[in-house]
Symmetry: C2
Subunit: 337 residues, 2 copies
């Protein structure tokens, strides 16, 4: 029995070849009734779809995925704009997935990529992500991966990062030079390599200034927004409250300012404040906030450019690429500058 | 000739049934060499994949798409969190697409959905979107669609909105009650139905107070961030500058505050300010910003719940659903409250 063609199938059905083709591709343009009829005849006549061709069609999704912990943070929203600028030039779509700081959710998202849904992945891991088995598995399936900002130290993969240790060290020295003797560092997770580096930079500057670096200097802020706000309020209500503070992520800034309003603690007179943030409102806060401003747009662009090199250039070993884009300390009123 | 089974195919190839199955599904777990061999034998033996079954498998992507103009806006980032909360309960993934206020890009994104990539769509249109042909086409392909916040008036589709007219009217009355006689309304687009409603609410309050509602009262802020900042600076440098201002979107707030810092224009003494924004930093600005706070999380949740009703409930006519969630005027120092 010779191989039946799509043309013969169409003739048998008395409909156009294009209709048959669309029905076999499960196109929305074709009614389910027609689809059922086409499938019935195709099965009866032993029609074999050209699997090679459809496999070829599927090969490139022209889509890249960005997996980030949250979107309500200026760093990520600006980084996404940098990523999209590069992707647009390349004619690619960008899908944004939110892990909501949950390792389980991040794993679930990455499992989806194994089916070839996307051509490449850019990821900034959750604060729960200690081990990266789910990420190496995706990489082993042939998916080009670039880490940005929040990386997994134990995975050899392309990474675009900023100088977290140095910028935290510089910010802390700035606080000390402005008279702080009891500064604290507000963290949200000690799992994250970027936080570990920021903490290390903070402690190094303290050590050099002969300031005790006991455990109480690093404060883990955990729980939901209300719980974090309460924790910070208690910190500032304490008679032995700090005289300086580094907020390691943007979402810690509003509760610090609010707690100061509530307790009558004056910024910068009683508490000098620096925040790691790309908040556009930083210069118009009361008082204007001194920030470690990360090159968010630049990081997004650089990471995307690297990913496309990995996608397009055969034989290019993406995993060895490391690029560091420097952050800037923007001195404003909140640190007494 | 009887129909050949996958089992016979595996036997002929001397490999496991599961390997054959995976190869036919183009799984990443199988080498291209093996895939080629499987396809070659499948073609030679006239193997017919069970199209019904694979069509069934494809039917539900368990993914919904959210198309928004931008992500660097607290309204959208909070709305996304509301959407994700509902999607998570339903076991669905959420894909976020950014249209960057470009109709061309929005159209391109929507065209992609016709292939059944997602099970439902939530959209807040761009400021360029006057006509919604690209959206009705997607709806006609059977895709459940819910508009949220920024809708297309001329499309009959489910919509979850807030009371833009009323909240703008209330905000304007608040400015007038606090002594404003020359207020202006800063807009970014008169295409958008939400902006038209906010403008109408503003003009109605002015009319009732016997204040001239000439064209100069509504100011269109266009161009990139720098151009908008210059435009606002010029407005406040003008000797006949306004004594009150409504910023109709979040991104207009920082340039207004910055222009005041540069020109020595004091908020609220010289200029009373209200902003439509969900900015968490609103209470800690200098001075604290009076806001029309939209129920962003609630809008996201409500819209998602509606979409899932459309996806899951056969015969449910989504297109007639309209839900209005009310905004709140949060009076703070910037309006002289």
């Amino acid at each position: 029995m010779s191989k039946i063609t799509i043309r013969e199938l169409a003739k048998e059905l008395g409909i156009a070849v294009s209709t048959v083709s669309k029905a076999l591709r499960d196109s929305h343009e074709i009614s389910s009734e027609t689809k059922a009829k086409v499938l019935e005849v195709a099965t009866r006549l032993n029609y074999i779809p050209n699997l090679y061709a459809s496999s070829l069609r599927r090969q490139k999704s022209r889509t890249i995925a960005v997996v980030i912990p949250e979107v309500a943070d200026s760093f990520f929203s600006i980084a996404i704009n940098g990523i999209e600028e590069v992707a647009r030039e390349k004619g690619y779509h960008v899908l944004i997935y939110l892990s909501h700081e949950s390792l389980a959710r991040e794993t679930e998202i990455l499992n989806e990529f194994k089916s070839g849904r996307v051509d490449g992945l850019m990821i900034s891991v959750t604060s729960e992500t200690c081990s990266g088995t789910h990420i190496t598995e995706a990489m082993n399936s042939g998916l080009p991966v670039v880490f940005f900002d929040r990386i997994c130290e134990d995975i050899q993969a392309a990474r675009v990062i900023t100088d977290d240790f140095e910028s935290s060290y510089t910010a802390t020295r700035h606080l000390l030079e402005n008279g702080c003797r009891q500064p604290v560092f507000l963290s949200i997770s000690s799992n994250l390599s970027i936080n570990q580096k920021r903490e290390a930079g903070f402690l190094k500057a303290l050590g050099e200034a002969g300031i005790q670096t006991d455990k109480g200097r690093i404060i883990q802020c955990t729980g939901n927004d209300e719980e974090i706000a309460m924790q910070i309020l208690h910190l500032l209500q304490n008679p032995e409250r700090p005289d300086g503070l580094i907020a390691s992520v943007e979402k810690l800034v509003p509760p610090v300012y609010m707690a100061c309003q509530q307790t009558g603690c004056r910024i910068p007179e009683d508490l000098r404040v620096v925040g790691f943030t790309n908040l556009p409102a930083a210069p118009i806060l009361n008082p204007a906030l001194t920030t470690v401003t990360q090159p968010a747009f630049e990081i997004g662009k650089t990471a995307a450019a690297l990913l496309f090199k990995g996608i397009e250039k055969a034989g290019f070993d993406l995993s060895k690429e490391i690029q560091v884009v420097r952050s800037r300390l923007m001195k404003r009123a909140s640190s007494g500058a």
